[in-house]
Amino acid sequence: MASERILALDVGGTFTDVVLVDPASGSLTTAKEASTPGDPSLGFFAGVDKILGQTGVTAPEIAQLLHGATVATNAILENKGAKTGMLVTDGFKYLLEIGRAEVPRKENIYAWVKPKRPVPPRLIQEVPERIRLDGTVVKALSEEACRGAARRLAALDVEAVAVLFLHSYANAAHERRAGEILAEELPGVEIALSSDVLPIFREYERGMATALNASVQPLVGRYIRKLETEMDRRGFSAPLRVMKSNGGIFSPDQAARQSIHMALSGPAAGVRGAARVAELAGFPDLMTIDMGGTSADVCLIRNGEPSISKDSEIGPFPLSIPIIDIHTIGAGGGSIASVTEQGGMLVGPESAGADPGPACYGKGGDRPTVTDANLLLGRIPPHLLDGEVSIDPALSERAIEQHVARPLGIGTVAAARGILAIVNNNMVGALKVVSVEKGYDPAAFTLCAFGGAGPVHAGEIARLLGARRTLVPRHPGILCAIGLLAADLRYDFVRTRLQRAPDYDLAAMAETFDELMREATARLEAEGVTPDQRRFEPSADLRYARQGVEITVPWAAAEVSDAGVEGVIAEFHRLHNQLYTFADQEAPVEIVNLRVTATGLTDEVAMPRLDRVEPGTIAPADGERLVVFEEDVPMRVPTYRREALRAGQVIAGPGVVDQLDTTTLILPGQRCEIDEGGNFILTEEGDGP
């Protein structure tokens, strides 16, 4: 076939990254365009035009188009979803408003102000109906009331409607019928049923997921239709696939319906990209750290698979759908350092962002940031983007002197080292949340650092954490786009079916698994996945009787037998002990939710390789600069250009390697090898790679 080329576009907050791969030749071309938050499709097509122009490839030659998007994320975080109405069971109009009735644990009770809900009470209509927790109907749905409610919402000009009926995870009939009535009465309005979005118990969490889904559906739908129309016009015939928060991809049709699954599209793609690069390098177990301008995302990956969380948050709201378990902290290059009135020292979460940016940018920011500390210590070069933009260490020094060194009565170099120590400690804390706190020893994992600031800090973080090896990918800035290339189609199906020990109803569970498998198979069928490319992973959420949080345990082949149940329970005890330091073999175990994850495998895309030289060859330096490490006195350190390096070469630390969008710092005592994929593998001198 002539046209097997794949185009991947990741739209980030600042930049849109584009990658074009030709699997036949193994070539990979990259491009960067400024993102256009007002209308992200502009940046999207600017990126498309740029890379097609660069390579001379034409639209019809593209076989697949992959996309990571922030449209849903931004709408949720900035509370800019569409005007959304809601239907709820009579008596429960204020479910979202009341929520779980708590002042969050980390907040000051006197200072906390409740965040605004995505759907205000005035747009919520009550409908008589009631289903019991076992799925039996207590009160039939009043279709008349439903129609009346739909008309009232129509008069209020809503663009979407969420439906949340109690216990609908046990019986979705009322929600389905209400959905039909809404579709009749409100043509063109998007509809989200809680039994479709998240069919598990806990009405506030399910309702919030459904409300958020509905409120972004119109935006995502419009955006996707716009992309498809424009693609048609430009002669693309390739299908579009969109990145999901669970690390898989899905069809535009599903994205427009299950839009909440795009909430962490970008970060999930980054983690997927890191997993892919590290797997090719031979390191399937890793911790990723993606450090950008304002925040750092960390994640744990085992055996090539990122951890999945089922109870995370987006902004102030719960998000109980399966998403890659990414832990985010406010620590980035732009994090501001300050000294408090009481003599304490803070780094972040306040950030200088891109505007005014760090003091050294000279754009009016006079407060010192992490980037200023790195610059003052020589850890990054005095320019950005290969010299396109100059940055001024004198401005960094002045800011650090004024805001940190003088108030603390220490020197500027010590102050800069302190800023980095604190931010590194914060990142180590975040990495411990995803490793040590989950019962994993960081020493058994490779640290994979990317994002503009990640590779600068990776060496010190690895040492503090006790990670034995650090991997810096060849293209740390475009890992999200690489992740798109590596993602498979992935759909999660779940149902609450509470089973209490010892009366596990095997027949009922088998029936539920059959149901989930049927749905999963139909979904992959609809996506055109051939049977040999389909994978199904059944699992179940278990807990000790009386507990409130479940652990997801794989259930091999969904074998619902006494032996199958025993196996799942044994694995639950083991995981409980690993996660929470104890297990209770005596306590009865409950099976709460059954799940099937369906994967449609995509073809693996080969990554280009570097030319090889004799292994162990010393890499040629192209200059030197003064860098401060542990001691106050700067060391003369050789500098390298990343593009000039070849596979097999070695750098003995200290050293700094500059490239277009980042700098890798190699500490004294560390050793850096370049592998065939062009990745850096950093180890401590004396340890093997």
């Binding site: 008596g91 409740k114 118990f201 603390l408 507990q547």
Partner: protein
């Protein structure tokens, strides 16, 4: 300690960050593994690190416990403690108020350095049932603390790593829900051990001296921040305020908390000796000195999220005066199960005094959260069903924001109704906002809620603690008081009846509907100064009725009911009477001195 603090600021910050993260890890462990609804869904637990003197250094922000170590020292002097020991207790009187009621079980692990006691890791959680007169242990009708469950004085449950299972066996045997209790105890114990290990890791990494310096660093920052704010905002003088609890249940008499805040020459004292005598019913509160100090600390430093609650706040306030035998310093065996009602009044009285001192720079009063206890016992099978639900109320308006609607307390969640129906043998038929319950004001008081609960058991008894009916949460600076709640059985049936809002032993039968209507918080600032658009928003969202908009706020809606009649509003607002006192409870009062306030209330 004679050693000079030598650790640099950066290292101190590294240690601070590390210990805060470790404490959050302890919480996460409890959160995910505990078994009783109180801990697993409601999140009623607390973790901390304390220094070797038992001073709180890193902690949750709940102002409910006292000196967590002092009571243990009385039985086990520090020189007798060994590495691997673990101490537990729930004995509120026996520890001088280490915890303030019996269901809170404390786990305390001493941490050693060089064979010398260095610090403590601690966790406590509210257990579901520890024996006592009624399922759930807390009874609004208790007349003695010996009816409120089994007392565990400080005991060494683990000696140098060896667990004394017998202690747990005795204790769990006294619970009606022993499995749940075992699960909770395991979770709390695991968290305590985890904290100990993390603290040891920190000492290994930074050195014990540096960690000790960091302890002092954290305390000093909180102390300094609070001292600065008090100095900045509170003038010299003496300022009193009295607030009231509706009922002690047993005698059904109202009781009061009085505080007199005195500041002179940079010294500040809080005198509670004007509070009522201890009550016969369980609203007595063994108030540790730290409680009002932490309230002041959290209030005055709320603008700065970097200042955390710890014993530094205790050093910033010089003196707490209590009268033994009073409501805030009861004598054993006065019952204490409902101490929250008094604790919340300690808070509101304190705010009243601060408002007096500052001309209104304090939040309005919050209502006390509501709990009901629905119990059924089947004598034939021995099966006990217990449903305890905590319900949100309205909090007081702030000087800068509305009071929070439908909120229980910090870090305490309600049950999802889909969970409650799974576990409790009830059906929840409605869950609404109690419109107009938030006190009118420039900033509106938070609204309470309405919850309809259908009883499915054949016979059941109901205990209820619904306060702020006789004494609604007061308003400040021209804001008005919140509106009371009530509890009605079968409100839509042929023979509805109301229950006493603080009562127990109410008999219910299958099919009865309990409607709990909870009270709102006080408002802040004159209602006529609230922007008309905000009032319209509240009307559209059902927090304020059209009538209240007109009567209380002077806001007139157009005939369509969805927009403002600006002329009508201006006219109506010109007719409204201006506030005639700093405070409001059903009517304005000045509360310029404690005595006159008493007179005004007595006159009502």
């Amino acid at each position: 300690m004679s050693r000079e603090a030598t650790t640099d600021t950066v290292t101190l910050e590294l240690i601070t960050g590390t210990l805060r993260a470790a404490r959050e890890e302890m919480e996460a462990l409890i959160d995910r593994t505990a078994m009783s609804p109180f801990i697993r869904e409601k999140k009623d637990f607390f973790t901390s690190f304390l220094n070797r003197d038992g001073k709180l250094v890193v902690s949750s922000s709940l102002t409910l416990s006292g000196n967590l170590v002092e009571g243990v020292f009385q039985h086990y002097p520090s020189q007798t403690m060994a590495d691997g020991d673990l101490y537990i207790y729930n004995d509120a009187y026996g520890t001088g108020g280490g915890v303030s009621h019996l269901p809170d079980m404390v786990f305390l692990a001493p941490v050693f350095h060089d064979n010398k006691l260095f610090a403590f890791a601690e966790s406590w959680g509210h257990l579901w049932d520890i024996g006592g007169t009624v399922p759930g242990s807390i009874s609004p009708e208790a007349t003695s603390t010996f009816q409120e469950g089994v007392l565990v004085p400080p005991v060494k449950v683990m000696a140098e790593g060896v667990l004394n299972e017998e202690v747990f066996r005795i204790f769990t045997r006294n619970s009606r829900f022993p499995d749940m209790m075992r699960g909770d105890l395991k979770a709390l114990m695991a968290a305590c051990h985890l904290g100990k290990r993390r603290l040891e890791d920190a000492m290994d990494r930074f050195g014990a001296d540096a960690v000790e310096d960091a302890f002092e660093f954290m305390l000093a920052q909180s102390e300094q921040a609070l001292r600065t704010e008090i100095e900045r905002r509170v003038p010299d003088g003496t300022f009193g305020f009295r607030d009231y609890i509706d009922s002690d249940v047993v005698t059904d008499q109202s009781q009061s908390v009085h505080v007199s805040l005195a500041k002179s020459d940079g010294k500040i004292s809080l005198d509670f000796s004007g509070s009522a005598d201890q009550a016969e019913g369980p609203i007595n509160f063994i108030m540790d000195d730290s409680v009002p100090k932490y309230m002041c600390g959290l209030y005055f430093t709320m603008h700065d999220p970097n200042i955390r609650m710890n014993a530094g706040f205790e050093r910033a306030i010089d003196e707490i005066i209590k009268r033994p035998g009073s409501l805030v310093a009861p004598v054993e065996p006065a019952p204490i199960g409902l101490r929250t009602h008094t604790m919340i009044r300690v808070n509101s009285a304190l705010f009243g005094a601060i408002a007096q001192a500052t001309g209104g720079d304090a939040s309005a009063a919050s209502s006390v959260y509501v709990l009901y206890y629905l119990r059924s016992e089947d004598r034939a099978t021995g099966r006990v069903d217990l449903c305890i639900e905590g319900l949100g109320v309205g909090f007081g308006a702030r000087t800068y924001a509305d009071g929070t609607d439908a909120v229980y307390y910090v870090a305490q969640k309600n049950y999802p109704l889909e969970f409650a129906e799974m576990e409790f043998g009830v059906e929840i038929e409605a869950f609404r906002i109690h419109a107009d319950s938030g006190g009118p004001g420039r900033w509106r008081g938070g609204c309470g809620i309405i919850r309809d609960v259908r009883v499915l058991a054949d016979d059941a008894t109901l205990g209820v603690r619904l306060d702020n009916c006789k004494f609604p949460a007061f308003g400040v600076a021209g804001g008005q008081s919140g509106r009371p709640g009530r509890i009605i059985i079968n409100p839509d049936g042929p023979e509805p009846y109301e229950l006493k809002s603080m009562s127990d032993g109410n008999r219910l039968k299958k099919g009865d509907l309990i409607r709990v209507i909870t009270p709102g918080g006080g408002g802040w600032g004159p209602p006529a100064e609230r922007p008309a658009e905000s009032v319209l928003d509240d009307v559209l969202d059902g927090f304020v009725s059209i009538e209240s908009a007109y009567d209380d706020y002077g806001v007139v809606l157009s005939a369509d009911g969805v927009s403002l009649d600006m002329d009508g509003t201006a006219r109506r607002r010109s007719e409204l009477n201006a506030p005639t006192g700093m405070f409001h409870r059903n009517q304005y009062f000045s509360g310029s001195t404690a005595e006159s306030l008493d007179d005004e209330v007595a006159a009502e």
